[in-house]
Amino acid sequence: MSTRGRRHALRSRIEEVLPVPFRLPRVRAAVAVAAASALALSGCSTERESPGTGLGAAADCGGSTAQSFRQQYAQTWRQAGDAIGLPGLTPAAGTQVCEIDTARFAKDRPKKGYRIAFAAQGPTNAWATTNEEAFRYRARQRGAKVLYASANGDVNKQVDNVQQLVAQRPDALVVVPMGDAITGQVRAAASQGIPVVVCSGRLGEGSGAVSTVTRDYELQGTLWAEWIARRIGGKGKIAMLSGIAGVPTAELPKKQAEKIFAQRYPGIQVVAKQNTDWSATKAKTVAAQLLARYPDLKAVWSDSAITDLGVYEAYSQAGKPVPPVTGDVTNAFLKAVQGKDVPFALSAFPPEQSAQCLDTALDVLAGKKVPSQVNVNSAVFTDKQITQYVRPECSDDLAVPSALPADLLKKLKLC
């Protein structure tokens, strides 16, 4: 109501102000269009826009297929919890698993195979390198052509990358998001009819992505928090060490864990929250400080085994028992603590999940129904099972347990 009234007022005002030639009918129409677009730009609506609607494929959240997808999702949570003695975990509130009808993306396989664009992190660390190699390996297996772009770990670079990849009209786009800043470009891709699979990460609502295939960040945060709570009997001082400030992989599990500690364990006191930048050097410095400041620290919640390595180094050097730690899995940490008394619970964020992302993208192109969210299964274990997972003969950088074939690992100098 208010919009239309104001628009009318504006038009009459334009007519008053305009010089005579501009009052010609055709010009007037043009002016009206210009005014309307100016209005759209200045935005007279006081209502909040919903982020991207009407994009992507039709989602069915109530049907029987959706139901079974949802059950599969819940199953991954239960299994992960059971693995380290936390029975009955259920997906975090707000997890919405639907069935996506991909009929409109269905495409015959071209002779040379589908062209799948892959907006990757870039070889900034071993995880990312493995992530990319696993994708390429799977693509070779399935006869798909990869169109690659490296973000070099930088989200702004990735914004350009996604735009550039989309310009080359791939059949599908798989993106390992460096941050939410690419949401707009992903939406633009989706609006051009390119199915997008978000891989090893997550974007906010309205990205227009067909499916998100990743290890659930909330599950990671929950596993680490609940295990610590159980381990220390629900009370005592703990510290939270997360990776790089502002990066979703660091912020989301942390947020979930904070919620769990605050809501379910009033006896647990989070005395310190620090960023370690996923650097063992910085983690050791931070841990050395924690050690000095809080001699009665019961556990360290962390999102990475790299951080745990720093914690281990700091405590063991000071001759103190290492507190229970959590994180994802690296061979370096397992090799360092094997045979030592270090209590831990780890849940992997497997780099090979990119293969599953590719599979989902190909499913979409085949017109198969896919879940809107896929929780990637991963190894979840504690210090009791270390011998099953540690690979003393392999590189520190190997993400264990690795699903990649031995010859590829050898080529990558990982094993």
Binding site: A40, S42, G43, E49, P51, A149, S150, K157, V166, K255
Partner: protein, 330 residues
């Protein structure tokens, strides 16, 4: 070439070459020469991919944010200063743009204006400190580089907010090979060009950078000029932040990280002297185009990502080493 020339003629020939290179760098011709070379290489390497409207639009889009920041840096460098805080300012502006608009169309214009004011305010602070104390601009802006980034992290460590569709359109829409966002950069370039070459302010900027003491005794309002220059740089950095938010559609606390170094690199590659007094606008724009082209060629040609940093470093190094003219005061 030197092998062909007689030994006696070798030295002058080399000197003439050096002088020619130096002149090319000063006028900004050098940067554009490399751009032309790169375009030629890309045309030969991938004729089907490079000249498509979409690809040209990508390259041009990539120039917008960097270009806005580089323009501000250009002015500051002209006065003999340096602004290390532009990346942090852009980050703060991008984050706040998305958070304050938060999807309400009615807030779009006021928020953008507020951001530009914020950038200007940051510039005022820089300018006043640099003009009224003996602290070098490098140190002042190094400290605000930390400070402003710190503030952004204190506001939010997670991506938040949401821009309106209209603003997102400015960041993404294109007409053939021309992205709409380029209009923003073009407007900024026009304003800065007029300011520099058609106004008294422009003459003052050059005078301050050339020799501040002489400028002062000649009656140039040195302090006011300095403050104004930093205000423009801050405002442009904030505008770059708005564009970052428009492209991202949301705000993140690390949106503009690293922009300051790219901006300085671009200005120097464009032939500016960091000692002040001399910089060519055409050169700076050439530098922007060069960097955007290099970045886009990695994906276009599917070059191995492990080599991309190496190539990037070599290009910057080569451009700097070949075309940076010797400083005239040494």
């Amino acid at each position: 070439m030197t092998a062909v020339t007689a030994p006696a003629g070798a030295a002058p020939a080399r000197e003439r070459l050096a002088a020619a290179l130096s002149a090319a760098a000063r006028t900004g011709l050098a940067a554009w020469a490399i751009v032309a070379l790169l375009v030629a290489v890309l045309t030969v390497a991938d004729p089907g991919g490079f000249w498509t409207a979409a690809n040209i639009a990508n390259v041009l889009t990539a120039t917008v944010v960097l270009g806005l920041v580089a323009l501000g840096q250009h002015l500051v460098v002209l006065t003999g200063g340096i602004d290390l805080s532009v990346g942090s300012t852009a980050t703060l502006s991008a984050l706040l743009t998305a958070m304050l608009i938060d999807g309400y169309p009615i807030r779009t214009i006021p928020t953008i204006l507020a951001m530009l004011l914020l950038g200007a305010a940051i510039g005022v602070v820089h300018g006043l400190i640099v003009a009224n104390t003996r602290i070098p601009a490098f140190v002042v802006t190094l400290s605000t580089f930390y400070l402003i980034q710190g503030i952004a992290f204190m506001i939010s460590t997670t991506p938040s907010g949401q821009v309106t569709r209209a603003l997102a359109d400015v960041g993404m829409r294109r007409f053939g090979p021309f992205p709409l966002a380029l209009a923003v950069l073009a407007a900024a370039v026009a304003i800065v060009a007029v300011l520099l070459h058609r106004t008294r302010f422009g003459r003052h900027v050059h005078a301050v950078g050339g020799d501040a003491a002489a400028a002062r005794s000649a009656g140039v309002p040195v302090n006011r000029t300095l403050v104004l220059v930093f205000v423009i740089a801050g405002t442009l950095a904030a505008a770059a932040g708005v564009m970052l938010a428009a492209r991202a559609t949301i705000g993140s606390p690390n949106a503009g990280q690293g922009l300051e170094l790219s901006a300085i690199t671009v200005v120097v590659v464009g032939g500016a002297s960091l000692l002040g007094g001399r910089a060519s606008l055409a050169g700076t724009l050439g530098g922007v185009a060069l960097l955007a082209l290099v970045e886009s060629s990695f994906t276009l040609l599917q070059l191995p990502a492990t080599a991309s940093d190496l190539i990037r470093g070599v290009v910057i190094l080569a451009a700097a080493a070949l075309f940076v003219p010797r400083s005239h005061r040494e």
